[in-house]
Amino acid sequence: MIPTSWFLILGAILFSLGVLGVLTRRNGITIFMSIELMVNAVNLTFIAYARELGSLHGLMWVFFIMAVAAAEAAVGLAIFIALYRHRETIDVDEANLMHW
């Protein structure tokens, strides 16, 4: 059996890559994909702990996280389509209407 902490470290690396993407990129779609990366890293952590503790609760959480991620992707991409219709770009720096 592979130690649980290795899976946790892999999850941490993937989560940090997602953080890097959100902080440095300005293309809205790429930022969204980075968020999906972070969600997946957390899912991996949940399943690793579910096996470690021998309980199904972690798996149930992963199931609900997947459903919420699907809803979030649908609404978020619709927002980007609406943004593109108005601004002809999905560069998040251009969407500065509510910027102080």
């Binding site: 290795w6 940090s16 890097l20 992707a73 593109y84």
Partner: protein, 175 residues
Amino acid sequence: MFEYLIFFTFAAIAVIFSAIVVIHRNPVVSALALVVSFFSLAVMYVLLDAPFMAALQVIVYAGAIMVLFLFVIMLLNLAHTEEPITRPIQQFLGITAAASFAITIIYYLCKAAVLHTGGPAEFVSDARAIGVSMFEAYIFPFEAVSILLLAAIVGALILSQRTSAITEAKDGGAR
């Protein structure tokens, strides 16, 4: 031994392709690299004795969500939009923040390592066990998620329609 080989191979694939998702300038390449990353995470779930979750990962993420992403990229014709590299201070701060976050979290994971190999042997995570758990203990969150998905469908439709219902109602009132 074989297990370890699979783990390291697919961990390397997941990390490399996630890095491509973040670094590459073309969103189509990013989306396809994300699919590969999702598949290698599905392999991780199989290694963690959760084959049902692996199937779900492939169907929901690599199937549904990635098709959604690729459709939007195609719809907005983003394949050739390259973002120029600007704002060096912002980039530097982002990279520094992400790197320090990674170092901190990995340091504490190694310090408090969950190193005893092999959890309890009776970890069953087949579809039957998950279904029983979902429709007994988790029936309320299950229904809540179904309402959330319905709300998301309606919200996505309203947000992405060509002329919004609000402006149309205003125009109708003006006429």
